[in-house]
């Protein structure tokens, strides 16, 4: 059951690390391995490499380099940002605003804080996955200390009006965190212009290494530490620096943001061809997420009458890697909270497919998926009692 060819359409889950990035990392494993916090020259060279990477990350999001803190990944960044702000500002209030469609790294932290005396408002989204700015304004109370709203959604790709949210937060004097794990490398970001106070990012989403990420913390923002210990990261994040990871993150974010528009244009064109092909060839299909305000590589569609996991398995047999919002793929109970939040009925949510395109995607991949996907969907529908009922009703 080995597939011969790999058609990787799960870039939103994780990407490969670009060879150029790996190359930059290599010397830091076996040669330039010195502890970046040590006194000797050998260690200070490591330190210099860390600081170069910090500047690369800062530049990519319009921050200053002393506002960048290296962490282990997107989840740690989200945990630190939200818990750190909550604990540091609990004297001012216990209210947090977020959305119903955040990643679990945000939602589960919010639930954790709810169990510890905080109150959380989960903003709803419209059928395209956008929040309502007026609802946000109305949700703000005297006790609101943090607004945490994701930049772009990992499932349906919808991009929120971050600058507008930042403006509202700034006007009301509330700290604004955004989970930009999906946005970095896909959307132009400027923390200054957008009034972002904290921003999470993860290397493995933009062709950097896994196991490294960063949290941007605007200068002057009070935050509690999440990982206590040694004095690394200006005493804010303990632990021996992940030198190759940090260097790789710096290189990757530089590459990802250098030709952002050009790169996006290429991905978007392929995405649109695939999406249009799917909508044309497969009836009873619904596009999820915003038609325009969406990540360039994201497709999320629901095929009525079938279930996502079986779809994934059949695609896998043909070497196509994709993902679904059906609960059956994860062993959990309900289908994706994001698909439910945009108003999909459970049975439609179960039949969803996310294809996320990226650097590995070729025009041949698009052709191939457009060739096999309609057949697979048809095959599963022919097995489905829901489709049978639907067709029979139609015949009547």
């Amino acid at each position: 059951m080995e597939q011969k060819r790999l058609i990787y359409m799960d870039h939103a889950a994780t990407t490969y690390t670009k060879p150029e990035v790996v190359e930059t990392m290599m010397p830091f494993f076996t040669e330039q391995f010195g502890n970046a916090s040590s006194v000797y020259t050998f260690g200070r060279k490591s330190k210099a490499a860390v600081e170069t990477a910090r500047e690369q990350v800062a530049k990519a999001i319009g921050a200053k380099s002393d506002e960048i803190y290296f962490v282990n990944g997107g989840s740690e960044a989200d945990n630190w940002a939200i818990k750190g702000i909550a604990w540091a500002h609990r004297d001012k209030g216990n209210h947090i605003i977020t959305t119903k469609i955040e990643h679990h790294a945000v939602l589960h932290v919010c639930e954790y804080l709810e169990n510890n005396g905080f109150e959380v408002t989960y903003l709803s989204v419209d059928e395209n996955g956008l929040i309502d700015l007026d609802e946000l304004k109305r949700a703000i109370t005297d006790k609101t200390i943090l607004i945490t709203i994701m930049f772009a959604n990992n499932e349906i790709g919808t991009i929120q009006p971050i600058a507008e949210i930042g403006k509202i937060a700034r006007e009301r004097g509330i700290i604004f965190h955004t989970d930009a794990v999906q946005a970095v490398g896909n959307v132009a970001i400027d923390v200054e212009k957008m009034n972002i106070d904290l921003l999470s990012l993860a290397g493995h989403k933009f062709y950097g290494p896994k196991g490294i990420g960063a949290l941007y913390i605007r200068k002057g923002i009070k935050i509690e530490n999440l990982i206590h210990g040694g004095g690394q990261e200006r005493r804010r994040r303990a632990g021996t620096e992940n030198l190759p990871g940090i260097v790789g993150l710096g290189k990757a974010i530089e590459m990802a943001t250098e030709n952002l528009e050009e790169h996006n244009e290429k991905i978007r064109k392929m995405r649109d061809r695939l999406l249009n092909g799917i909508m044309e060839k497969i009836p009873y299909t619904k596009l999820n997420g915003h038609p325009e305000k969406r990540l360039p590589g994201n497709i999320n569609v629901s095929f009525k009458f079938i279930e996502g996991e079986s779809l994934l398995l059949m695609l896998d047999q043909l070497g196509i890697c994709a993902s679904t919002g059906s609960a059956c793929s994860s062993g959990s109970l309900d289908p994706s909270h994001v698909l439910l939040a945009i108003g999909l009925p459970h049975e439609i949510a179960h039949g969803s497919l996310r294809l996320s395109l990226g650097d590995l995607t070729t025009e041949e991949d698009i052709d191939y998926v457009l060739e096999v996907l309609p057949k697979i969907v048809q095959r599963l529908r022919e097995m489905s009692p829901l489709y049978e009922d639907f067709i029979k009703k139609g015949e009547n």
Binding site: L313, D334, E347
Partner: protein
């Protein structure tokens, strides 16, 4: 995740389809939960002469349907009734723990189809101690 047997029955499911003049039909599951299983029986002289299924669900659900129908084809109704979900799972070389409910669905669909046949025949339905098959998951957001 899945055994080769599961993958085989998923990719090449046996007995898929509908029996238009079935004399026993059972459907269990719930679209909300992501799986519905429908079994069609053609019973003659207490023997399952033919059986077909339609399933909306994950790989394990489809493979369980395929395997379960294979296991009851040609059997007496008593034998078919006594097919347990464990036997289905074992015949598939096992199912992941979170997917065991798929084999339970298969057992339940067969029971329902047999009782549907018995009722059509004017017989007492057998007592089924598999309950709540249409809502075997517990939803948080209801």
């Amino acid at each position: 995740m899945y055994s080769d047997k599961v993958m085989d029955h998923f990719m090449n499911p046996r007995n898929v389809g509908e029996i238009v003049d079935a004399n026993g039909v059972g459907e269990v599951g719930n679209a909300k939960c992501g799986d519905i299983m429908k079994i069609y029986l053609e019973v003659e002289d207490n023997i399952i002469k033919d059986v077909k299924f339609k399933t909306f669900g994950c790989g394990a659900a489809i493979a369980s349907s395929s395997m379960a129908t294979e296991l009851i084809k040609g059997k007496t109704l008593e034998e078919a009734w006594n097919l347990t979900n464990k036997a289905v799972a074992e015949a598939l070389d096992g199912l992941p723990p979170v997917k065991m409910h798929c084999s339970v669905l298969a057992e339940g669909a067969i029971h329902k189809a047999i009782n549907d046949y018995r009722i059509r025949m004017g017989l007492e339905p057998w007592e089924d101690n598999i309950t709540d098959l249409d809502d075997h998951h517990h939803h948080n957001n209801e």
